[in-house]
Amino acid sequence: MLEALQAMGSVLFDPYLLLLIFATTVIGVIIGVLPGLGATTGAALLLPFTLTMEPVHAIAVLSTIYVSATFAGSITAILINTPGTSAAAATTFDGYPLAQRGEAGRALGIAVVSSTVGGVFSVIVLCIAAPLLARVAYEFRPPEYFALALFGLSMLASISAGGAVRNLIGGVFGVWLATIGAEKTTGIERFMFGNYELYEGLSFVPVFIGLFAISELLVQSKFVHRAVAAVLLKAVQLPSMADYKRIWKTVLRSCGIGTFIGVLPAEGATVASMIGYAEARRWSKNKDEFGKGSVEGIAGAEAANNSATGGAMVPTMVLGIPGSGTTAVILVGLLVHGLRPGPYLFTEQVTQVYQIFGAMLLANLMFMAMGLYAAKIFARISLVPSKMLWPIVFALAVIGAYALSASLLDVWIALVFGVIGFLARRFGFAVAPIAVGLILGEMVETNLQNSLKMFEGDWWLIFTQPLAALFLFFAFLGLFGSAIFGWLRKRFWSST
């Protein structure tokens, strides 16, 4: 415990890391306020820039982008009714109406404070829960990891974008992508079509840059001429005592909801903010105010989306299962820098892990300061025209895709996956499931193979392992739970 606190505190005495966190918080907030450029795209674009950094610095940069961009989406959600990130969509419901009433500063103040409380709460939970979960995960063997990966994939059925079936198709496609290259145990080449650069499989970085950044560029090309009207902002106000009295319960509730949803594999800040908002409305005494500028609505959504960030880091670091699209990119960052996610991370590289947590905590406090003192400037950045922004994103994306392995094939992969991602989104498929599937693909196949070897080919023995059976049961619930409960409710509710 003392070692953990020392490691977290050491962040404060590393001037280079402090400077990096400050600079990345500014970049993260800029990314967050620019419509279309969310935390995931930002992290994917910045990943190549971290290549020469120390592992802790690199992951601190990526996680700072994650927390600061997630918060910053609320600035444009409140001031121009355009969520900078999808996680801030629920903030527009009440943030913009309150801003229209001339209380933009109050709305932003509530968003800043709620986001900070949510973010700090979730990092504390991360510090406590991750080592505990790691202790349980030491006992995991291939059947448990196989079942856990299936559970992670099953959760794709319930993420917000796309429908359950479409998300699962995306997930299966992602898992198939992971089979490209030489098969690990036999060395048999699969779907390489004679291209030996694919021997190690598809590189995650160019695929992610394509799926998140280039596909977003093509999506944004439809909205070139969209005009935005900014609401006048005088100054951000800290919430008054009356506001605190009204929102504290909502904030605490949303912190719990957001962290829990963040921990669930493949769920993320967007789902958390929607549920946080809905629960804020359900428990509120002033339901009529919702949609017209309710402070509880803003607090509910913002505390939930930022608390999901720390929650999503728990399965990412302890189990190697991404808790959201952005943590999928952070997971790739961990792998690129030689930090193998899993329970052993908490015994072998404990100092580095807690330094990363410390950096996340610090980033939450830094974006609070920026939100309070510089929201007005950042709001102006959101008015940068698309015709200037997206060509720059294109340049960053192709050079970033090239930089990791100095391979032109990676650039073509990024462009091809950009078009695939765009077409997928055009027809209602989300791209995050493809990314999650790609990451979990190897985990599923390798652990299935090892389980089969363990049980001498008797695959059904996987079900006899208690933890594996539990995860498979959860996976079953993730896939069919809503249908079963819906049917039961219909049958027994209607009969009574």
Binding site: L51, V165, T179, E183, K222, P391, A403, L452, K453
Partner: protein, 162 residues
Amino acid sequence: MPASAGAVARLMRHLAIPAIIIAFSVVVIWASLLLDLSPEMIVGDSMQPRVFPIVLMILNIALAATLAIQYTRAPPRPVEMEGVTTWGSIILFVVFFLLTVYVDMMIAIAVVVFAMCLLWGERRLPVALAIAIITPSSIFLLFDTVLRVRFPRGLFTNWYYG
């Protein structure tokens, strides 16, 4: 008759996506069946490398069939046709590919960024030109000097690297 013909056409349009997914899955299954078999002594109690992709694609076919049923019950919203900007951007990707392969990657980025600025509505040529020159050159210098990334040989890099 025309009304039912229209309904059939609409249904076919809705089923196009599940049909494409099924066709893709069938092609992958076929390609998997062409994969080499590993000797029994290596595979042991595990599975052949072709089995896992085949299982995935069978799952995908089942999911696509479910999607087709969903679409017949509740048709998806019609998708708007893309405008010139989107198609133009995709064509610029092809231009980027050709210029990178035959001329130089940095020049390709500059040309595409310039064309993309104009395509997306920038009417001030000096502004587009400035973005096209400053962006790739600053990113190039950063990656070359700080991150020590060597870019592929071409017209510009041959001159720069010597």
